[in-house]
């Protein structure tokens, strides 16, 4: 029995394909990206090593980068907070109702499995200045704002709208993760809390919340990384416009790399993005390093 599981050849056969693929398509390209980010390179000329100049330019001489970083951070904070809170509340409500739980759950989760490209088109039509929501508002005599073209404010209105649509689309994922975790909690714990005189709200606060803590770290880091690298909705709703005011890191990288073909410069943006993701994951794991309870 034991010998069977220590079979070296079998281990290598089992692990090799995944390992090779992972190294070739992930690890090696990342090392390449770090090297490219230190080069001056547009598609026509060869790569020329220039040290940290790309990063210097990124942080001192690139207004779009400033906007992109600002937007990405805003997007991450907004998504993390709103999705965690609303997802948790929904999960709490849904596990406490008797009828229609599956129906509501399926409805809320539905957009998460649909294509962001398609949903982005749908919402960009609804937020069109002349059509969609503004037409409804017009019948009430209200002049609707330019949902996706407004440029006023520190965080522009289109960015808020994109963040709201993202919340609409992805809050189901968070809800699902929490529901899965809650359904793993033993029913006897709740019965014990009811006997001790807790109502539903109290048992949620004192039984459910502490027990789902391990999930917070996972879902929060998935959430943060997902929103840092967010691309689809932004690209399909505003394409980074008007005047780059809704650019995020991913769209900036895309435009620099594949419209202006500045491979080196775009790689530098990629490296910044990677570092941000790693820092965020690190911080979350530090803050939520939680003890596991027996359930």
């Amino acid at each position: 029995m034991d010998k069977l599981y220590r079979n070296k050849l079998a281990i290598i056969i089992f692990i090799a394909p995944a390992m090779l693929l992972f190294t070739a398509v992930l690890l090696v390209p990342i090392c390449q990206a770090v090297y490219y980010s230190l080069c001056d390179w547009n598609a026509l000329t060869g790569a020329k090593f220039i040290g940290l100049k790309n990063f210097e330019k990124l942080f001192t001489d690139d207004n779009t980068m400033k906007i992109a970083v600002k937007n990405s951070l805003f997007f991450m904070l907004f998504s993390a907070i709103s999705q965690q809170v609303i997802g948790l509340v929904l999960a709490g409500l849904l596990t406490n109702i008797k009828r229609g739980r599956n129906l509501f759950k399926n409805i809320y989760y539905l957009p998460a499995v649909l294509s962001s490209a398609a949903l982005g088109l749908l919402w960009s039509f609804l937020f069109n200045p002349k059509m969609g929501i503004n037409q409804i508002l017009a019948t009430f005599g209200v002049d609707g704002p330019l949902w996706l073209m407004d440029t006023k404010g520190y965080i522009v209105l289109p960015m808020w709208m994109i963040a709201l649509v993202a919340l609409w689309q992805y809050v189901g994922t968070t809800m699902m993760l929490y529901m899965a975790q809650i359904s793993g909690i033993s029913q006897s714990l709740y019965e014990a809390s009811y006997i001790d005189g807790a109502n539903r709200l109290k048992s949620f606060r004192h039984v459910t919340l502490p027990l789902i803590k391990p999930m917070v770290a996972t879902s929060l880091s998935l959430n943060c990384i997902g929103s840092l690298k967010f691309f689809d909705l932004v690209y399909n709703m505003t394409q980074g416009g008007p005047n780059h005011r809704t650019d995020v890191l991913a769209t900036h990288l895309y435009y620099q790399g594949f419209q202006y073909f500045k491979y080196g410069y775009a790689s530098a943006i990629g490296v910044v993005l990677l570092i941000m993701c790693l820092i965020v994951t690190f911080i979350i794991n530090r803050c939520f390093k939680s003890e596991n309870y027996e359930m």
């Binding site: 281990i11 692990i15 390209p29 990342i30 109702i97 539905l110 294509s115 749908l122 899965a180 690209y235």
Partner: protein
């Protein structure tokens, strides 16, 4: 007793209102896709007067959605099968077999979850064009498999670890080889896990946009989500066809989802969460 009832009513009202926000836009897309352009401009929120089936026909042919759908299906199915097989093998080696570096290997795969696909976009593009692999579906399939692996491995390792050892022992006594145990015992037993990971892989890759946009420039090889973006733009006026295209793109996901939605939670509960 009465107090509980009031709170229940409030909860249900809230849930229903929220559900309307989710369903209404999707239903509305379907309605609009059956209208004429003039109808959309004048009163977009009414039912279509006469259902315009032509919209679908034109979107399908003029938008080249047929070939795009075929490409998407090929890419997604190949990715699905390969990533499940490779992922399950790796997960079995990590979760069930005994060797020193298994913990480290697991960490190696999990790091993949933190890495945004954008970082490897340019190096991959450069490497693929050097070996003339851009513009082929393989150039999409390889990265898709790779980026599906971390989640697959993560969920399946938990599945394999949670399995009772007796089954494996029995198989061992009956003279089953290690490969036999994997294919005949471990895989069938982890059906739920395979199911969830499969669904997630399929949905993610079906919707993936950035890589598909960058790696494929040949119209005949584009995937569905990329083809959709051609309908966008501030000056696009063919709204009804755009909406028909949206419906076509979204319909398969909805069908798959409706058939299997309950298993998603089961699988998540059984696998992902225990970790």
């Amino acid at each position: 007793m009465k107090k509980i009832k009031i709170s229940t009513i409030i909860i249900y009202t809230f849930l229903v209102i929220l559900a309307v926000f989710y369903v209404a836009p999707l239903l509305w897309v379907v309605f609009v896709s059956f209208k004429t352009n003039a109808e959309v401009m004048s009163n977009p929120f009414t039912l279509p007067a006469v259902p315009q089936w032509d919209n679908y026909f034109i979107a399908w042919t003029a938008g080249k959605l047929g070939i795009a759908t075929l490409n998407s299906v090929i890419v997604c199915v190949v990715t699905l099968v390969l990533s499940m097989l490779i992922g399950a093998m790796a997960a079995f080696a990590i979760g069930r077999m005994r060797w020193k570096l298994s913990g480290l290997t697991m960490t190696y795969f999990l790091i993949g979850m933190m890495i945004p696909i954008h970082c490897v976009l340019i190096p991959l593009f450069v490497s693929f064009s050097n070996i003339h692999m851009t513009n082929t579906l393989v150039s999409l399939i390889l990265p898709y498999i790779t980026f599906s692996l971390p989640m697959t491995v993560y969920i399946l390792v938990n599945f394999f670890r949670g399995m009772p050892g007796d089954m494996f022992e029995a198989a061992c006594i009956d003279g089953c080889s290690i490969y036999g145990t994997f294919f005949k015992i471990a895989l069938p037993l982890s059906k739920t896990g395979l199911f969830v990971t499969g669904l997630m892989t399929f949905v993610n890759n079906w919707n993936e946009l950035l890589l598909a946009m960058v790696f494929i420039s040949d119209t005949a090889k584009k995937t569905l989500s990329v083809t959709l973006t051609y309908f966008v733009g501030p000056y696009a006026t063919n709204y009804v066809q755009m909406f028909a295209a949206i419906v076509i793109a979204v319909a398969p996901s909805i069908v798959v989802y409706c058939c299997f939605s309950n298993q998603i939670v089961d699988g998540l509960t059984a696998g992902a969460v225990k970790g």
